[in-house]
Symmetry: C2
Subunit: 879 residues, 2 copies
Amino acid sequence: MSPNSKYVYFFGADQTEGKAEMRELLGGKGANLAEMASLGINVPPGFTITTEACNYYFKKDKTLPPSLWDEIIKNLKSLEKAMGKTFGGKKDPLLLSVRSGARVSMPGMMDTVLNLGLNEDTMKALAKKTSNNWFAHDCYRRFIAMFGNVVLGIDGEHFETILERKKEKRKVEFDTELLVDDLKGVIKDFKALVKKKVGHAFPEDPVEQLRMAIEAVFNSWNIPRAIHYRRLNHIPEDWGTAVNVQSMVFGNMGPTSATGVAFTRNPATGEKKFYGEYMINAQGEDVVAGIRTPQPIAKLKEDMPASYDELLEVYQTLENHYKDMQDIEFTIEDNRLYMLQTRAGKRTAAAAIRIAVDMVNEGLISKQEALLRVPAEQVDQIFHPMIDPKSKVKVLGKGLGASPGAATGKVVFSPDAAAELARKKERVILVRTETSPEDIHGMSVAQGILTAKGGMTSHAAVVARAMGKPCVSGLGELSVDTRKKKAWLNGTEIKELDAVTLDGADGRVMLGSVKLVQPRITGYFKQLMSWVDKVRNLSVRANADTPHDALVAREFGAQGIGLCRTEHMFFDEDRILLVRKMIVADKEKTREEALKKLLPIQRSDFTQIFKAMEGLPVTIRLLDPPLHEFLPADPKEIKALAKQMKVSPSALTKKIHSLKEANPMLGLRGCRLGLMFPEIYKMQVSAIIEAACKLVKKGTKVYPEIMIPLVGHVEELRQVRSQLDEVAQDIIKKAKVKLDYKVGTMIELPRAAITADEIAAEADFFSFGTNDLTQTTFGLSRDDSGMFLPEYIEMGVLDRDPFVSVDVSGVGEFVRIGAEKGRAANKKIHLGICGEHGGDPKSIEFFNSLKLDYVSCSPFRVPTALLAAAQAAIKDPKP
Amino acid sequence: MSPNSKYVYFFGADQTEGKAEMRELLGGKGANLAEMASLGINVPPGFTITTEACNYYFKKDKTLPPSLWDEIIKNLKSLEKAMGKTFGGKKDPLLLSVRSGARVSMPGMMDTVLNLGLNEDTMKALAKKTSNNWFAHDCYRRFIAMFGNVVLGIDGEHFETILERKKEKRKVEFDTELLVDDLKGVIKDFKALVKKKVGHAFPEDPVEQLRMAIEAVFNSWNIPRAIHYRRLNHIPEDWGTAVNVQSMVFGNMGPTSATGVAFTRNPATGEKKFYGEYMINAQGEDVVAGIRTPQPIAKLKEDMPASYDELLEVYQTLENHYKDMQDIEFTIEDNRLYMLQTRAGKRTAAAAIRIAVDMVNEGLISKQEALLRVPAEQVDQIFHPMIDPKSKVKVLGKGLGASPGAATGKVVFSPDAAAELARKKERVILVRTETSPEDIHGMSVAQGILTAKGGMTSHAAVVARAMGKPCVSGLGELSVDTRKKKAWLNGTEIKELDAVTLDGADGRVMLGSVKLVQPRITGYFKQLMSWVDKVRNLSVRANADTPHDALVAREFGAQGIGLCRTEHMFFDEDRILLVRKMIVADKEKTREEALKKLLPIQRSDFTQIFKAMEGLPVTIRLLDPPLHEFLPADPKEIKALAKQMKVSPSALTKKIHSLKEANPMLGLRGCRLGLMFPEIYKMQVSAIIEAACKLVKKGTKVYPEIMIPLVGHVEELRQVRSQLDEVAQDIIKKAKVKLDYKVGTMIELPRAAITADEIAAEADFFSFGTNDLTQTTFGLSRDDSGMFLPEYIEMGVLDRDPFVSVDVSGVGEFVRIGAEKGRAANKKIHLGICGEHGGDPKSIEFFNSLKLDYVSCSPFRVPTALLAAAQAAIKDPKP
């Protein structure tokens, strides 16, 4: 930051210093206000204090830059001139809003002060100027409460209580029913409260108010909920927030005034239709906070036709200019339209897809731009479950379908309860009167969100859509008692842990767990995906263990199976007994008998999977988990098994006990099983090759790839491979067919990565098992990490969960080294990923940069991975 | 191998083609026979077939090189000429011995055939020539049995049975009491046995015998016990063995003949005194096999004074020539001395040290040569326990003190039983009539070995000395019944699992477990160690957790403590309850109360350790293991603890259960504990710094180094360190002293190694924890690896146990990367090792090559590490 920095940028009809591109310096809101002003759109003039000033403030122990105040006063003068009003003036006082504005939108996270500049004198002047004494007093009491809360740190509830008591005393329901004298009493009580709480009088000097408010906005950058939001969204601490100081306009000046928010297209579906809500005679915060349920925007055409037409024109201008769907805030003050904000609107994945495709068709954006417009990590939302149309459901009520998708789970009434149950892997539905930023941690773990208050743009709705979670909002008939942990809906009592189902598409709330089904894919999606294949470098395969999963994956665009886990097949009811017999067999003969019976079953598994994937490669991993995972632990089950197996329970218990390990993750598993019990792998390879040979004979194209897990030393692979090749060649020879099969290995141990050159000499392919590689690289058991990983992220020790998004500098480095060494030693080697990270867009970007051949992920993540691969290729166009 | 290779090298008085330096080609035995011949020492002439011929044989599917046979015949002619005898001749037949000879000595591992060339005709000629019909028949029957066993693969027991039956029939005890006619009968029966077993007659053609014997020696390179020995001793498969074909001389030609083995110095103590044994009228194998107990060499002076004097002269020549203690074999045939073999003698560590020091003082070798002469891995043998002189012992009998040191353990009578009990961590004493190479696996796990038969150079004695294990051999009063699992010694019955104690120094066998004590260090050792410090680069520290260990380590030469594990302190009886209270505390207050009580105890621990290590650095590792390790698992113990802690048993059980982990090795431990429960680390750092400050005030020099375990990400270290620095600075400030303390971290996770540059910025030192690093690099739990690691080594998947000797290409690579990145980012960083590998000479050689600053090992390994560090520096003299 240079000492000559300019810290303040003015915007208004006559003079505008900023522009949209200056988002880093002016924050999103400030940059867009400046841009709108430049476009000739009517915005209340004002000025933006830069994020650099905020960073200076925190770096210098909360001191403002020395030159800042002079700049503010200079801009304040310009603002007075533009508005023809005087700040603190006793005739026509200029009132200000002071708002935060970070580089990216952080909804509800930062604090705002409205009506700043009011004191006893300017209130009177406002009353006189607007000829509305009630309005002036109402503004003043709102200002004191907001300033008292946000700037002075007094609990808002105290102000609320004073107001409620007054209403009770006056026996009225709404604030608007209070008389001017009542408001005067409220103002007096508010001021007394402030004096009592902070030890000095409420500041009357408008300039002092402004200074305090600006510092309060800066300080709000570091309040816990803002920090929490940043952590959750990976926003760097050092971005800072800008402060927007803007002249006030009033949507609450009576019936010719209004305030509203709108989206230029439908944020839930993407339909090209103006979409929003407004309230007559209300201040902006009333709409967003969801306290009153607002009117749909179409109705504004009836209420204020001129303003409505102007709004339509503005929205067209904005969309054409920004070439993206906009989320706008506006206020109509006495029939004059002011735009308060515009920004790219948050949207569901379905909407993002439709908007992107529509905008290509409208000629607004290119196909590559369209691909970048759809957040890959959200694509699987469109495959989110929906209510099975054939289910009989008991609908308790219907609210707004605020975020699509269906969800079922146990009811909880607090975010803490949601978090606690979620930790126990329970599916929960968070039910609240309305949500606020304090609820984020509960919302993020819930399956779905249900609120009694709030519209389509309420906090709950916006956040749920961003999270891709089903949400039903504004269900007025719902009443919630958080303390009693109960809710009532149209006569039905809902207790904590009762099962309910939400349909976030149509707003229905149903009793019990309703069956959910997967939706079909839309034409918009197909069109988008058709562009994907032209740009991406990475292939995308699926992790699929059954013929059904294989078919689903193929329909979603999978180009093969990257991981078929054979152990899942072992757990099937018809074979688990054979598997168990095989494991506890003390004699080789008993083991071989059991394996002999398993062989045809496995062969049929593979036959079906090969058929489902005809023409595409299928990577089959040989048995990986420790054998004791297949055995029962419960004494009753052991007894039953002993009886079935005709052995004594105590002998069986002893055998099971002898297989127990201190650290099974690091024990007798993977290729170690293959070396200790070669007959198991031989059976599996026989099943694979026999199935393949039979299909080849029938003319089916099969490309089996046999994958050896947990190789740490080349010699393990060499020995296992030589045994298996012998088995395979034997079968192929006998079958007299030509079958091309590959043998490769997982790279999932640090030693495998660092000696990948040695291992590559024995492998046709590597598949990086980034799940296990993350475990061993970090020395971190996924099963046990729950005891501290969430806190680690909370404390900022780790940026993000390394099991979700690959840890580039550690685990990623091993993938890089493994790929580099592997290719150096074996030019033909094929490289892929089959850990969970194969479906994570951030990770895919990294894997693309390493020029791997493919990623493999769960079938429903295939479209995400395909899109992410395309986006990675567009962003990193190196050949 | 070039096609023009010369495969056969002659040696003899007149013509010798090989020399000592050709050990790789001629094997140790062949090279030294050639060398002796060149020195003018009388060796029976012969020729050596090279190891290259052996390698050719195995590479070409057991075919001899085409040119080989011509070479052999040519050399056979030379040999006939040198001896004046004819191979297969009917007048004066040349008889041959055919022996293996690998590059390094593999005692008893390879097969030998003596008296080759005998058939009915040559036997008669031999009888005539020697005028000893009995001798000729005895040679022939021995030859048939040996050839039948070694070359034709017939179990030796069958021949033994025929002989025994004949003795029973004749009612005689010794072979020598049989008459010529008896021997004729035996020979007839032997031949019938051969025909029955192999389907053809015993080969009468001497040339055919020779060809078969040579191939048998080659084949014996790959018999299981040879493979096992190579694996155990890390001898590469592709070294191959040479074959020595040598003219026979006979120690069994009557009372003027003898055979013996000797060491030029005492192999147990190193004393410069001729040391060995001989038998009159015996063949060489009789001495080594330990079947009869031989005479001490000094007695030869009386029996055959001329030969004795000649032998003394030869031994002096050999020592002066080889400049090392020699292990020689000789035969006296009719008063003429022949040397059959010389090689560097195996010796105990104590002997190695004394011989090396003496030879420096005698001017034979340099100090650096002396340092290389003592196998570092054996140095700790000299600290092996001895019988506490104050103990009352019940001596059952006294045999030969064949390998020094005392051992106590449970009696087993078979190597398999030894291996099985050892797996259960039992200490065992292997008791055998005599040992053979088949017993190696039992010997290697036993604490000590006791045999009824065999002298100081018997198989048991030689192998035990090489292994550094106590051994009592030749205890004639001992009789062993392996089937009944019982032994009798001077009237006492010894059953399997009875406890006995051996003193391998004086040969005593005692009943029960006698208390053992540590010996003091000798002057020879001190002299050797005084040379060590001048050449080594690595410092050596000790892993010591108690003041006592610290003092022992210091006495052994430790230059500080590299690892003081604080958790061991937690297990002490007087504090485990406090630790448990601290762990199960649900409230922070309860935890802090317990910690408050632990603080003064820990402070006193550290005070004493600092005092013991005054002036030297002490690295203290903060709490590392998962907390549940401190809690009881047994319901009874839980109940007792609950009572002590005044909580309900069920609540305590639940708490304990909640701390259980699926993979504790990868769970909540190390610095993760420090971040989740900062109060624990704060208490420990307070104790360390308070103790240090108090001592500094008194003028004691203390250098505390605080070590944070299990760091995987720099941010972990940064956060823990900043908390701890605050605590430390506070205490130092209050104490008003100057205290230099360091904070560093273990590098024991692959991620730590690969991001060592980041971590180095926050660390004053790294200590590579190669134990855990091996676990995570291989994905291999040390606790569980017993299920397959032994088989892995057996199968050749791994060369050696990576927990014993560092895996250079995997784990070592991480140490290399960690050291390199660490130094690049922080030039001042201090680097050490504190895993088990810190005491392993092979690993130390590697760490020396990385130019680490120090290794740290258990106190008793300190001398080993010091010597190994010196040897590494001598071998790798790069600056």
